[in-house]
C-alpha cells in the first residue's frame, strides 16, 4: 500500500532581490503533522516531486508553541503561524508563501525588523527611575490588568500587518500590532506618565491615522487580541490629546 503523502507548493526566492519561483514537495503524512514539522522533513531530504535535489527551504521558527511569533508565513493565502497549522485542518495541496508585507530575505524567511523600529517609535517600554521591592512597587490597576495581560500576548509575529491592506511598501502605516502596544504601555502604572509622548507619536505620519478600519487585523490575530477595540480606544485618546495640544498651549 502506497504511503499517504502531503503535497506542499512553496513559493521560493533565492535572495532579497531575486525573482520568486515555486517548487513542489511531497512529505510523508503522519498524524498531527504540522507545517513546521513538514518543512523539517523537506530540510532533511530536499527533493522536489520531479526528483530534483534542491537547496533546502529556508524559514524561521523557534518556540513551536505559538508564543514566539517567528514562524509566521502565508499558508493557503492566510497569514498565520506555521507551528500550529495542522495538516489535518487545512486544505491540500498546501501553499506556502512568505509574508510579502515584509522584505523577503530568502524563501519563507522575512525581515520583520520594521516592527521593532515601530515599537521604538511609539516608545514601547516603561521608563524606570529606580527599582522597588515587590511590596513597594506601584500596582497594576486591577480593572485594566486583564486588558494589559491580553495585549501583552502580542508576539510581533506580523499576521495583522500582512492582513492589513494599509500596511505594505505602498504605505507608511506602522500597522496594528505596534500601534496597540502604545495602549499597553499607557495602561502601565509607570508607563502612563509617558502617555502623551506615545499618543503624539501615533499622531505622526504613518501612525494611527493611517488605519482604514478594514478590521482584518482582529480576524487574523493568532493571540485573539481585540485589536480593533484598542485601536478605537487609542483613536479616542489621540483625539483628546489633540485637544490638549491645541488648548493647553
Amino acid at each position: 500500500m502506497a504511503e499517504k503523502k502531503v503535497r506542499f507548493i512553496i513559493e521560493r526566492q533565492d535572495g532579497p532581490n531575486e525573482k520568486p519561483y515555486t517548487q513542489e514537495f511531497d512529505v510523508d503524512y503522519r498524524p498531527g503533522l504540522n507545517v513546521v514539522a513538514a518543512l523539517m522533513e523537506i530540510q532533511k531530504n530536499p527533493v522536489t516531486v520531479d526528483g530534483k535535489r534542491v537547496a533546502p527551504v529556508v524559514w524561521e521558527c523557534n518556540c513551536l508553541e505559538k508564543v514566539c511569533g517567528a514562524c509566521m508565513m502565508v499558508i493557503n493565502g492566510m497569514a498565520r503561524q506555521a507551528c500550529c497549522a495542522l495538516v489535518d485542518e487545512i486544505k491540500q495541496p498546501i501553499h506556502l508563501q512568505p509574508a510579502r508585507t515584509f522584505p523577503v530575505i530568502r524563501d519563507l524567511l522575512i525581515d520583520r525588523s520594521v516592527m521593532f523600529e515601530s515599537l521604538k517609535r511609539i516608545q514601547g517600554w516603561v521608563e524606570l527611575d529606580g527599582s522597588w521591592d515587590v511590596k513597594d512597587a506601584p500596582i497594576q490597576n486591577p480593572y485594566t490588568a486583564q486588558t494589559a495581560y491580553e495585549i501583552s500576548h502580542c508576539m510581533t509575529c506580523g499576521c495583522c500587518l500582512e492582513a492589513c491592506p494599509n500596511v505594505g511598501p505602498q504605505s507608511d502605516f506602522i500597522g496594528p500590532a505596534p500601534t496597540v502596544q502604545a495602549y499597553l504601555f499607557n495602561l502601565h502604572p509607570l508607563g502612563k506618565f509617558d502617555a502623551p509622548k506615545r499618543l503624539n507619536a501615533l499622531m505622526e505620519k504613518g501612525g494611527i491615522t493611517s488605519c482604514g478600519n478594514s478590521q482584518n487585523c482582529v480576524e487574523v490575530c493568532p493571540k485573539n487580541i481585540k485589536l480593533t477595540t484598542y485601536l478605537a480606544q487609542l483613536n479616542r485618546d489621540v483625539n483628546k490629546q489633540a485637544l490638549r495640544n491645541i488648548f493647553n498651549n
Binding site: A163, Q170, M203, S210, N213, K226, R236, A242
Partner: protein, 206 residues
C-alpha cells in the same frame, strides 16, 4: 508639536461626513420631489433660486466645491495607500473597506462628469436653468440613467459606510457590539436612500 497628517485626516473625515453628507442629503431631498411630479421638482428648484445669487455661489464654493476637492484629492492619496485584499481576506468589513475605495474611484470620474456637464456647462456656460423637463430629456438615454443610478448608489454607500468608519475613527464606537450595531443601522440607511433614489429616477420614465 504639529502633526499635519493627523489634522488633515480628521478634517477629511469631518468634511466627508458632515459637509458632503449634507450635500448628498440636499440632492436626495430636492430630487425626490420629482416623485410628486414636474411642478413639485420645479417648485423646489425655484425655492433655491430665491437665495440671493452671491450667497448661493458662496455656498456652492465654500460648502461644496472646496470640501469636495479636498476630500477627493486627499482621498485619492489615501486610496493609493491601500492594497485591497478582499480575495484573500473576505470578511464583511474588509469588503466594505474595498468598496469604500472602489466607490470613491467611480465617484471621482462620475462627479467630474456630473458637475462639469450639469453645473458648469449647462447651468454655467449655456445659462439653461435646471428643470424637470431638462432632466427628463437628459434621462431619455438609458446609459445616462444607469451611470447616474450607479453614481448615486456609490455616493450613498460611501456615505453610509463612512458613518460606520467615522464612529471608529473618532473613538465613538469602541467595542465590537457597538461597531456592529452602527454598521447595521448605516446599511439600513443605505438601503433606504438607494430605494428613494430608484423611486425618483424611475419617476422620469413614466
Amino acid at each position: 508639536m504639529f502633526n499635519a497628517t493627523f489634522y488633515l485626516r480628521r478634517l477629511h473625515s469631518l468634511c466627508g461626513l458632515l459637509v458632503l453628507g449634507m450635500v448628498l442629503f440636499e440632492h436626495i431631498f430636492t430630487n425626490s420631489m420629482a416623485i410628486f411630479g414636474p411642478q413639485a421638482l420645479n417648485g423646489a428648484l425655484a425655492m433655491m433660486e430665491l437665495i440671493p445669487k452671491p450667497i448661493f455661489l458662496g455656498l456652492e464654493v465654500g460648502g461644496i466645491a472646496i470640501p469636495l476637492l479636498f476630500h477627493g484629492i486627499y482621498g485619492i492619496y489615501i486610496a493609493l495607500q491601500a492594497k485591497n485584499n478582499p480575495g484573500r481576506f473576505g470578511y464583511v468589513r474588509n469588503w466594505n473597506f474595498t468598496l469604500q475605495r472602489w466607490t470613491a474611484w467611480y465617484l471621482v470620474v462620475f462627479l467630474i462628469w456630473h458637475v462639469g456637464y450639469l453645473r458648469l456647462y449647462t447651468k454655467g456656460v449655456t445659462g439653461t436653468p435646471i428643470s424637470y423637463e431638462l432632466l427628463q430629456n437628459y434621462f431619455q438615454s438609458p446609459i445616462v440613467v444607469l451611470l447616474y443610478v450607479l453614481g448615486m448608489f456609490a455616493a450613498i454607500f460611501h456615505f453610509c459606510n463612512g458613518i460606520t468608519t467615522f464612529c471608529m475613527t473618532w473613538g465613538i464606537t469602541k467595542g465590537p457590539r457597538a461597531q456592529t450595531v452602527v454598521s447595521y443601522l448605516s446599511m439600513c440607511l443605505c438601503a433606504l436612500l438607494c430605494l428613494i433614489t430608484l423611486t425618483f429616477m424611475g419617476s422620469y420614465l413614466i
